[in-house]
Symmetry: C2
Subunit: 401 residues, 2 copies
């Protein structure tokens, strides 16, 4: 027998009521400008039930009457929509050299943005910086706060609200959700930053699917998996940790202790290291001539060299794409997911990188699975983690995503 | 906005009733010999609700009164249990050189087993063989049939009831569920055989977890993924297709059209091919001496050579384990699943094979993820697909799994 599956719980009328109230709110959120009659038709609920739920939503200000629809003979129907500024969301991204934050409305529009440089702070000091950032955001709030959500690098137990391990910030089993909740007195949600980026692309990106994987390419490589419209965290909250799957036998030592991890050969950092090594060896190479100084290789340099048709630079990029393609092949072979999205400044490399990824994937997984699979750059270019944080609040707090 | 997620549906009192009836039945199935008072306590439902539901279950025969429990002062309570022979399940496995079938009771006990040799039959002829097999099983049924479930190799759309592609049987978009339903007039469920094997190990195996991956090693290599106690099918029903993920660059051509697929280097067939090649080249090798004839290498031969400490045979086996370990590393890195189960006659190789798999996995994925991950042989040795078929019927038909 299946002993450890969480026992199903009894259903009650209270559940039915809550479920239907969320259903009406979600329908208004998705459809926008709908009448009560529309809502009854779309949800299958009676007009009386819809009216009663809408009345509650008008009372707490989440929904507003926005005007009149066309008359179908009688009185023109009153239209309802989400009151998008009725609540605000506090969103944080701790994944970069600057901690970034935003005050966001219920439609994901940014009302106010702040960022603070980390300057190598870790542990308690990094935590204090988070507090300062939230203080600054809270000072700019103009509506009741629905919740605060934060994306952190590392292993984050989203259920227990713990940062289990974030190497760069030197956090270990930090009860961040609890600490923020106590201090700021509002619902707090935390998650891994790549997981949130995937949720953002799913929720606000241009995708007609309920399953996708987003690969976040930067100094490292991480990914987030959305299945059935929800983040798939994995049992230990480490789902999508493809950056530390080994793709090169006997490759370079990685910070994780293993050799040949994807991060060591296909990340932006790895590409820049290779470009710099070549520039150092061949002072006549375009990569050497384009770099701003002898001890500095920048992403712009590598990108420019590729654009000018430099074979060496292009070789670095397509080799990274080929290796990323092995990870993509495994994602497709294991999950049979049909939408793979790549985010980060690699998008600037365009087809050169993407075609290498696709070709490699196609060579490495069952053709029957890749035939319907699209690999593409993210449709959202900026602030993916902040948007993912707002999607998490909207999902957990209101059920509209 | 997330446009394509299936819209949530309204909740009704009817749903509440159905949900609670299934909850009571599942509680009886899991707990066995419980009183109505126990059921009320475990489920949180009122005694009146429990009594009414139990009365319906007694009426349709699914539950029986089995005796009296200890008195707690007043009348001793009547105990209830699943009437395990009240319904029967028709289960089929089309994954081998014999189509196998069984009549199974509600606890997964086999009442009757039949198998018929396939002898290379395909297409219509293979379908007729399925009909014959079901006819034979139906002739041995001694209780009403709750449902029929079938595990087929290949890509199976379990929702639409279609075998999308089964290369060996030459089936393409075969509406097998509909055909069987029409012919045998009972609920029919179909799924991929590896997916069902995973469900069997989860449902009837010795695991205290709601997530596991089962790797089915045989002529090919497939896997099934159970997440939250349910088969994870993947969008195109191809989840777990690890046998056709490439693990060797520029490796041998595989039947799928790509090169270096896991199946070509780590399956039983691949190991036997390597053993035979060595035996052909070195007539003095133990592998050559142990084989039953010059043109036949058997699994028993390879296994025996390993047991007798033959370095060549052991090398073949550990290399296959190492390569399987790369697939396991990807499963762990992508899904962060903590229980990986290997099924098939490789279990006879014991630690030699398993240690190679584990070592390889540990070298290839984030140590923080493998620390809690167990890789082990299946706890159920036989009839995994047939048991998975019965678990599918019990899950879909009664909600007890």
């Amino acid at each position: 027998m299946a002993k450890s599956q969480p026992s199903p719980k009894k259903a009650t009328r209270q559940h039915t009521k809550q479920h239907n109230a969320r259903l009406v709110l979600k329908t208004i959120y998705d459809a926008g400008d709908v009448s009560r009659a529309d809502l009854a038709r779309i949800t299958g609920l009676t007009r009386a039930t819809v009216s009663s739920i809408v009345s509650g939503l008008l009372d707490n200000g989440l929904v507003a009457e926005t005007g009149y629809g066309p008359s179908l003979g009688g009185k023109p129907p009153i239209l309802l929509n989400m009151a998008e500024d009725a609540r605000q969301l506090i969103c944080l991204d701790l994944g970069n050299e600057q901690f970034a934050g935003a005050v966001v409305n219920l439609r994901g529009h940014f009302e106010h943005q702040v960022s603070v440089p980390v300057n190598g702070r870790t542990a308690e000091s990094a935590l204090n910086l988070v507090y300062e950032l939230v203080d600054q955001l809270m000072a700019n709030v103009t509506a009741p706060v629905l919740g605060l959500a934060l994306g952190s690098p590392g292993l984050v137990n989203a259920t227990a609200g713990l940062v289990k391990q974030s190497v760069n910030l030197d956090w270990h089993d930090l009860p961040l959700q609890h600490l923020l909740q106590e201090r700021f007195n509002c619902p707090v949600y935390i998650a891994n930053d790549s997981h949130l980026a995937a949720l953002a692309e799913y929720s606000f990106g241009n995708h007609n699917t309920s399953n996708l994987v987003l690969i976040k390419m930067g100094q490292g490589i991480g990914s987030g998996i959305v299945l059935n419209g929800r983040i798939f965290y994995g049992e230990g909250f480490g789902a999508g940790e493809i950056g530390h799957v080994s793709v090169v036998d006997n490759g370079d030592l990685c910070s994780c202790g293993n050799h040949g991890c994807l991060e060591t050969v296909a990340s932006v950092r790895a590409m820049l290291r290779q470009a710099q090594a070549i520039a150092n060896k061949q002072p006549d190479a375009l990569l050497a001539q384009l770099r701003p100084s002898n001890d500095l290789m920048t992403w712009e340099t590598l990108q420019q060299a590729c654009q000018q048709g430099d074979a060496t630079a292009q070789q670095i990029v397509s080799q990274a794409g080929t290796l990323l393609g092995t990870a993509v092949a495994n994602l497709v072979g294991i999950l049979n997911v049909k939408r793979i999205v790549i985010a980060g400044n690699v998008a600037g490399l365009g087809d050169l990188f993407m075609e290498a990824v696709r070709t490699s994937m196609n060579q490495r997984v069952l053709p029957k699975l890749t035939v319907d699979t699209s690999v593409q750059y993210a449709t959202i270019e900026e602030n993916l983690v902040l948007l993912g944080a707002s999607a998490l609040i909207l999902s957990q707090g209101l059920g509209v995503i």
